[in-house]
Symmetry: C2
Subunit: 458 residues, 2 copies
């Protein structure tokens, strides 16, 4: 049977299977859903078996299981490793969902459910692409799947898994293919060529042993909130350049061609401001919005609290403590671990001796990622998009982070391709998450094209 | 009967009556105690009648009643107005009290109960002093009492009361006497000659319409917490001088004699630091701790919050809003209202257009107070202390505020004397509030001396 026909004939069955997957409440961060997480892994095992994968395993971890599946056609053929995750974000707040998050339904040609786009729907495109190729006798490469259950909570178990040599051998491949990102739109297909890394820390300022009366002590004792504000204000200068010494030392200066690529990314400042309802944008001088989030590192204060924090009334305390949380988004070639330490040192230097300061750098630091756009794998992806969308993909720069991908890059030294088919309107991590049915099938076709291009080019 | 004998013979009855007063849960800030507040006012009414006051009235207000009592001996004699309050601070946290807060008991010669020192015990010294003078036929002056039930929540009703001409006529007197403060110790008797004023405000920084993903938007959109930190950090320079324009213009420069008085205030920096457990003190350059809290204005940030505020974990948001609360403590001659407006303007100027800023100045602004140490009333107080304590009182500078006293000073243009007998160890506003029995009776005697001195000198 021809590939096209198989897909056409099986459209309903593909979606029916996906709906079964979406119904499983595989929320990784909430421990009461442990059984559902297990059910999602079992579902995948069954699915992989039924499409004809040779070896399917549920790998136990300290937390949630990893599902591994492979089909080796010949050792001489190239091997594609597909990464994805079956866990989903908690659906709260539930009252903002039009229908319950784990009762998938279709409206306006979109599938609504938690995980529809992030990442169950996108993982399923791969499964059904491989099913199609197996069932139509068109599979001319080896394929391995590694689908984890902790992506939404930091990928700790998969990180540990990747730190063992034997496991790296098991996953040995020529490319890592990931569908966990989005495109600008179906009219403007795009491929992200970089992601930012991340490091985060908690800051605690410890002042007097109790909340003091601000009349009796005010002016004579260091106020922890004031010190914390001073520390946070010292992070950037008047041009919003970050002041941590050597912070920008390793940031790559873009070549002209890369600058031209950035100019091709469509950006409408009016819509951008309207969508988030701000009057003016704000950021590092000398860079535009795309550059500020795509090629420049940033620091954000994610939380702060201390003293009297009720909206109503007031209490004239000089508080005993203040707390803050900040995260850095780092670009490729910056050493996230070193910069986190530099940031900590810098903040500690600002605080006077009158307070104690505790800074805890969180685990789960990851470096920024840059994709090699000259690799055979990347060219295969570009061609696949060109073929299916009839349009050259725009090369985008992601501001967010997928920490496990940096780990893959560091461990495997093989190309990574992010071939995602979500859209900015998919509401991932938010109520009413959705994934277009067109996106699913266009994605499936593009993936098949990629497999074809990649195995032919190797 | 002689005064001394009357006090000696009635010691038990004085304390018994005080215990009845202390048992009443007159917590003004918590509405479920409304009835107890009323009971405290009724108790005072009964008490004033029984000691022989001529006119006793419970004056209704929008909130809690004011108790008024007077004894006019002769229009030719000087009139003393005694101010105090019968309401108390909420006793929470209850688990830190050794015994329930409204079941007074004596231990180590101290009375333990909420309100023992602040201010029921001190109001009661006056009542029993007047009782003593009436019962022994020694009252040679007119006396008026105005005892409110809202001091711990801002004295709104009494403020309104004082804004009416008729009421000012009713309260017409030659001195306002207040026992609602503390002394350094019984060995170092002291009188406060100034209090700081207060102004407080809420600040709200409004950024994007929702918490944004710090990866997708980080670096390109103003972070409300960052802006708030910048505003708060801009309040003081590197020497901790306040940077609001014209802030210090009206601060009085001390004369040499006043500086000498400040040097007499005992201060042990080691104990001070130990008591609040800080390594170093911190404040305006060029001033010591006594000066920083006594003669210099200050600004404290009383609270801050925004973004993700759980101690555990992290959430990489660029938050939609941030909130802060600050209060200013102002010294005599500074115009609190003007300075609050200046502060607001200054903060608004710092914020970029990328955020909206709302600043709400709280009601209950009050100016700082300075006592005229040359007045007959003040001299009478000094002499009374000299007589009873056999020691000249040290003139202290209070860092806190009693806003209603500034109102009295502004409305009446008569001397105010703060003759308080609490101690720093009384735990006012805290669990296990207490008031020494010695303090009560030494206070009672000093008050009688003051009455005598003041009526003789007028």
């Amino acid at each position: 049977m021809k590939i096209d026909n198989y897909i056409k004939n099986n459209k309903d069955h593909f979606l029916k299977d996906l709906f079964k997957f979406l119904k499983i409440k595989s929320i990784s961060a909430q421990s009461e859903f442990k059984k559902e997480i297990r059910n999602a892994a079992l579902f995948l095992k069954q699915e992989f078996k039924s499409i004809g994968m040779d070896k399917v395993e549920i790998l136990s971890t300290k937390k949630h299981p990893i599902v591994y599946a492979e089909k080796i056609i010949s050792k001489k053929l190239p091997t594609i490793l597909v990464y994805g995750h079956y866990d989903v974000q908690p659906p709260e707040p539930l009252n903002l969902w039009f229908k319950p998050p784990f009762e998938p339904y279709i409206k306006n040609n979109k599938i609504y459910a938690r995980g529809a786009a992030d990442d169950k729907g996108q993982v399923f495109m791969h499964i059904k692409a491989i099913e199609t190729l197996i069932k139509t006798n068109n599979i001319k490469f080896n394929v391995k799947f590694i689908i984890e259950g902790e992506e939404e909570m930091g990928s700790d178990s998969l990180s540990n898994f990747l730190s063992k040599k034997n496991n790296l051998k098991l996953l040995n491949a020529d490319v890592v293919l990931v569908s966990d990102t989005e495109m600008i739109s179906l009219k403007n297909p795009s491929i992200p060529i970089s992601l930012r890394g991340i490091a985060a820390m908690d800051i605690e300022i410890i002042g007097p042993n109790r909340d003091l009366h601000s009349g009796v002590y005010g002016g004579a004792v260091a106020n922890p909130i004031e010190i914390l504000c001073k520390m946070f204000s010292s992070l950037k200068d008047e041009n919003n350049h970050i002041k941590i010494p050597h912070f920008y030392d390793d940031v790559i200066i873009l070549k002209d061609k890369e600058k031209d690529n950035i100019k091709k990314i469509p950006f409408n400042i009016v819509n951008y401001k309207k969508e988030i309802e701000v009057k003016e944008l704000y950021g590092e001088k000398g860079y535009n919005t795309i550059e500020r989030t795509g090629i420049r590192p940033s620091i954000e204060i994610n939380g702060i609290w201390g003293g009297y924090t009720e909206k109503e009334g007031f209490k004239t305390v000089l508080p005993t403590k203040a707390f803050g949380k900040l995260s850095l988004r780092l670009v490729a070639n910056q050493n996230a671990k070193k910069i986190a330490e530099d940031c900590k040192k810098y903040l500690l230097n600002i605080a006077p001796k009158s307070v104690d300061v505790k800074i805890k750098i969180h685990d789960g630091i990851s470096n920024g990622m840059l994709i090699d756009t000259n690799s055979k794998a990347f060219v295969a992806a570009q061609k696949a998009i060109q073929k299916v969308f009839k349009k050259e993909p725009i090369l985008t720069r992601g501001g967010g982070s997928i920490p496990i991908l940096s780990k893959f890059q560091e461990k495997f030294k093989i190309p990574i391709v992010m071939l995602g088919f979500g859209l900015p309107s998919d509401n991932i991590h938010s109520p009413n998450e959705n994934f277009g049915i067109d996106n699913f099938f266009i994605g499936l076709n593009t993936i098949i094209e990629f497999y074809k291009n990649f195995s032919n080019s190797n």
